[in-house]
């Protein structure tokens, strides 16, 4: 029998709130956003799915994304039933699961990938793989492997007490999502349990590329700003340099996921990692001589 919620619950007593011990120790995510703020720049956060198309490719793709100019990398750990994701990331998850990628394998490979990267890494996943791995083991191994933060898309503060406690005790940032449907009370609570940054979902719905930026973004950023000084990152549906720029004018970071995964799907087989690096460069709004096919 794997570690259950009950056994995870008992960890809470043995893992006191180490928040106080963190004062003065800046996390890599905090450092990255502080540096950017100092330079008057905004961040580009890039998502990709680990193990898509194969685990062996992920190291190269992470480097490509890093070299392309990602300020923070979100690394998706594939799950069989990604119900918050649209078709593009669903396909990536299927390829990755089919190729044998699991949380355990990603945490095994991560230290090797990590040492060649400049950008902090946030692990992005669903709760069940983490629960089966064991919360305490996950926190310990993610921390040892060099993960800077974690985001569990189907875990809200109501159910996250034990998770937050163990991640704190291993000095891994916990990023939560806030959405246009979140009340002010919820946004305040989500900001209070988030460290590193707060992720704002630009629209109701699943991940995926969109033609235009949602009108829900400005009011959501404004509401979040009232409750926190954390960097605010906006994602879901951000897929072009223009949208990145528009988001960065409002918030501290733009998150691009499906468009990158789509580019990996289409360009990696023929163009290899450099094609993906150029795509990120293009998103960054730099002239790389790269012409993105917008069809």
């Amino acid at each position: 029998m794997s570690e259950t919620l009950k056994s995870a619950g008992s960890e809470r007593q043995t893992a006191p709130n180490r928040g106080a011990t963190r004062i003065g120790i800046e996390s890599r995510l905090e450092g990255r956003f502080r540096d950017l703020r100092k330079r008057g720049e905004k961040a580009l956060v890039i998502y990709l799915t680990a193990g898509d198309p194969l685990l062996e490719a992920t190291g190269k793709l992470l480097e490509a994304v890093d070299q392309g100019g990602a300020d923070v990398i979100e690394l998706g750990i594939p799950f069989s039933d990604p119900l918050a994701d649209g078709p593009v990331i669903q396909r990536a998850s299927e390829r990755a699961v089919h190729g044998g990628a699991t949380l355990r394998k990603v945490l095994e490979y991560l230290p090797r990938w990590r040492e060649r990267l400049g950008a902090p890494i946030v692990l992005f996943t669903y709760f069940n793989p983490v629960l089966q791995y064991g919360l305490e083991s996950f926190a310990r191994d993610a921390s040892r492997a060099g993960a800077d933060g974690t985001l569990i898309v189907d875990l809200t503060p109501e159910e996250a007490g034990d998770y937050i406690a163990v991640m704190r005790s291993h000095h891994v940032d916990t990023v939560f999502l806030a959405s246009p449907t979140s009340s002010d009370e919820r946004i305040e609570r989500l900001a209070a349990v988030s460290t590193g940054f707060l992720y704002l979902v630009s629209r109701t719905g699943v991940t995926g590329e969109r033609q235009s930026l949602s009108a829900a973004v400005p009011p959501l950023v404004e509401r979040a700003r009232r409750f926190t000084d954390l960097p605010l990152a906006v994602g879901f549906g951000v897929s072009t340099p223009e949208q990145v720029k528009a988001v960065q004018a409002l918030a501290d970071a733009a998150v691009v996921g499906s468009a990158v995964v789509h580019a990996i799907e289409e360009r990696y087989p023929a163009g290899g990692a450099p094609a993906v690096r150029d795509f990120v460069h293009w998103l960054k709004g730099r002239d790389s001589g790269f012409e993105h096919d917008r069809t």
């Binding site: 029998m1 794997s2 039933d81 119900l83 649209g86 699961v97 069940n128 109501e158 806030a178 919820r186």
Partner: protein, 397 residues
Amino acid sequence: MSSLPQTWPDARGRYGEFGGCYVPETLMGPVEELNRAWQSVRHDPAFQAELSRLLKDFAGRPTPLFHAQRLSEKLGGAQIYLKREDLLHTGAHKINNCLGQGLLAQRMGKRRLVAETGAGQHGVATATVAALLGLECVVYMGEEDMARQAPNVFRMRLLGTEVVGVSAGSRTLKDAINEAMREWVTNVESTHYLLGSVLGPHPYPEMVREFHRVIGQEARRQILEVAGRLPDYLFACVGGGSNSIGLFYDFLGDASVKMVGVEAGGRSLKLGEHAARFAGGRPGVLHGTYTYMLQTDDGMVSTTHSVSAGLDYPAIGPEHAALFRAGRVEYVPASDGEALEAAKTLARTEGIIPALESAHAVAEVIKRASAMSRASIVVVNLSGRGDKDLGIFQSFG
């Protein structure tokens, strides 16, 4: 156990350690809105009166409790009573919950229903209620299920519902729920997700149970009328677990009443060939709730198999997980072959063709009844009728 089954769930939607609410943040607002609406109507006399009227005049409640004398005689043991949910409008117990949630959606000002379906019984019931109440309706159904339950696809479309095939994953109920939840998260303002079983995030498992409790309330009254005492055993099939919890719930406090939930044993008890969550599953989180589920060591959800689409699902309602953990209900698998054989036996002894789902419960009764005394009383929930399964019966000869 820190609490009694009759007090479940607690305010956070927990049944013992199971249940809860694990959804993306975008759904938390809608789930809270739903919970407030549900808590406000559950004891509202006007709402309950309207629901009772529709259950009676539209759906056909109360359903009979039928003494299956020829089957009882043939087996030579317990007296078998069938709770005839198969006689309800749309052919299964599912209409109880759909009427309840449909009325609730209307009160919440939602113009649109979205639902998943496995066997198609929940989809047909949702499509029916949408037509009755003048709401738009979209039903997601796995492509494998659309093929094996084709008559129900046609019924839904005739009722004006859009049926969307799901080609992802195992192309069955699990994948249909994924798509329905994606649709809900995208259209939360206008849409109510009419979940069809005692699954999902709180308050769904509680709300769906409450809408099906009428099954057990009626059965209790009826058996006391005809037999003058409570039954010794209750039997029901368990996919997500809505018809079984509906029958069991009002008997949970009666220690003398033993209860058996029958899961889909499929082709074999090898992972991937069955849907018996208590025979190889372990606790995890799927579709918003913490419960027993079939999964790999790495937490990937397993594919399942059952001849009956309605039982072909890797997780079970959290209240069942808690009743299993508490030892209050026994859960056993019945195989595809046993279910098909049981359906044939019931058809030939009683003139009733059961749904393949319900046939699993009948199969377990057939295994046990002869070993019981002739004075024993058994109630089986005949949750649905077999019309939709004629193609499958044909292909198995």
